[in-house]
Symmetry: C2
Subunit: 321 residues, 2 copies
């Protein structure tokens, strides 16, 4: 029976039962928590939570016969593509938490638009100062990265009655937006954009795509929301625009992450001193019970591979190397 | 020509032109900023921003021939009904800012559900602690007070896919909710309610309506959002439930308000020390340019009265005395 590396740490009994439910009879799962030795070499597939972990990286390096890697995250940017066997394909878990991340993105957008964090901070100091909330109605929202998450964001914003534009390379159209633009076309409407919501994966092409030029074109007072990946935005350019008070931002994804649990974590630039921003620690894709949903979605795709069917969400390797 | 008291302070030239646009030729406006003397007695109608102001109260007391009072606010709870001539009717500005208040209510609900204020506070201290956002999808939302604001709230929450119940005395049904319940019926679903959104006016009947009993019945972890009026909730009961960590709250309306601009303001109980709440200073009905919209909506109704038509939004006096 083919072997599959389950590189997700601290899987509970219920979660191991889920693995059995989806791939039992098709493959023998090898769990990272049980220790994985030379058997790694024979494995044909792997399920990966995060390849930032050094042990996971080391096992992946030894697994020279991998043909399929399934991630638990929607993004595959932490996968060490350069170390993988050439024939291995990588599938993201795109769509597994699209609705949940979209809820969170809308929450961040509204928190910034309505100045809620700032007003709360003042109220707690006894300061009763009215700062006018900004309206979504009749505003212009640009959703940069119009995949499964972007679409769920648009769907939720629609009853607030803004103009909504999605941005993606392939263009097209969709019922929830006024239009879908290609990135070049999107540049032309930034001057009338009130909310720029970023839901891009991190690839060679998107790294730094939201650069000084894009940010400068945004309307004064515009809010930048990021639930994609931090490095999609040029950190210094955003910090500059925020420092001079020209923009607002609400970020859930960052450039600097803690190396160890509980470690004090700040960015390279002091975003935490700015009043015109909302900061949260990469929680958009989590909720009570989120791991079960991600696991099921990922295992379903792994099962497709093991059954000889075409897996979904295969990423283009050349975009990540 | 009949005289109308314009009891809104600091009206700009543009705003006076609006008054002319709506009631010019029908009545002579007397502006509080110009000083109002004995002419008050002859006035047949008044436009009131807030009757909390002592000068406004005094003018209203002298205006013994008033037959129509139009407020700028959606709520009429600050009107001194006991001092008004018996034949005077009072019209609220209900609906003037329903969409805007609804935007804000959804923003508060999401800010609390997603723990955004708490997470932002920790991030600014270098603390990277994941607290799981709560989902709206598949949750139960009860909108207590299902008028024009409540309905706009439901419309905006619908694509998040919760169950939504509206609560109003008259019952009925509506496309945006699963059902509309009468207050007695609503008590029976509180134990499965995740979000209680209060959009009630403050009347004799609603004062303290959200009492210890209602709050106790709510599911553990439920979020109470209030964009109606503070005293609709029993302050001590809410504080108790919050202190013991059983509920969350997101409040824009309060029991204690500043008496003067810039005055340090705290509630009677130390809500500002609680982590499980979001506090903002009664801004839901404001936005850049909000006064023009409120003025137009109110003046339109005043015009109806002056034209001899039936004004809208007449409140039932007996509910306020």
């Amino acid at each position: 029976m083919p072997r599959v590396l389950i590189l997700v740490r601290r899987l509970g009994q219920d979660e191991r039962r889920l693995v059995e439910e989806y791939i039992g009879g098709l493959a023998e799962p090898l769990y990272i928590d049980d220790g994985i030795g030379d058997e790694a070499e024979e494995a044909v597939a792997a399920l990966v939570a995060t390849a930032r972990n050094p042990l996971v990286r080391e096992i992946l390096r030894r697994a020279r016969n991998l043909r399929f890697i399934q991630t638990l995250a929607a993004g595959v940017d932490n996968i060490p593509f350069q170390d993988l066997p050439e024939k291995a394909v990588v599938a993201s878990n795109s769509g597994a938490n699209a609705e949940e991340v979209a809820e969170y993105a809308v929450a961040l957008l509204l928190a910034a638009a309505k100045r809620i964090v700032l007003l709360d901070r003042e109220m707690r100091q006894g300061i009763w100062r009215v700062e006018y909330p900004r309206l979504i109605r009749d505003s212009t929202v640009v959703i940069w990265g119009y995949g499964s998450i972007g679409r769920e964001i648009a769907r939720r914003l629609k009853p607030f009655k803004p103009r909504i534009y999605g941005v993606r390379r392939s263009g097209g159209s969709d019922e929830y937006v006024d239009a879908i633009l290609k990135p070049d076309e999107a540049l032309e409407i930034l001057h009338e954009t009130d909310f720029l919501v970023i839901a891009l994966p991190l690839t060679r092409e998107t790294r730094g795509a939201i650069d000084r030029e894009v940010l400068r074109r945004l309307r004064h007072g515009a809010v930048v929301v990021n639930v994609g990946r931090g490095p999609v935005i040029e950190e210094e350019a955003l910090f500059d625009e925020l420092s001079r008070g020209r923009l607002w931002a609400a970020l859930d994804v960052w450039w600097v992450y803690p190396q160890r649990r509980g470690e004090e974590t700040f960015q390279d630039l002091p975003f935490h001193l700015l009043e015109n921003m909302v900061m949260t620690p990469h929680v958009a894709g989590t909720w009570p019970g989120y791991r079960e949903k991600l696991l099921r979605h990922a295992l379903e795709n792994l099962r497709r591979f093991l059954m000889g069917e075409q897996p979904r969400n295969i990423v283009r390797r050349e975009e990540y190397i």
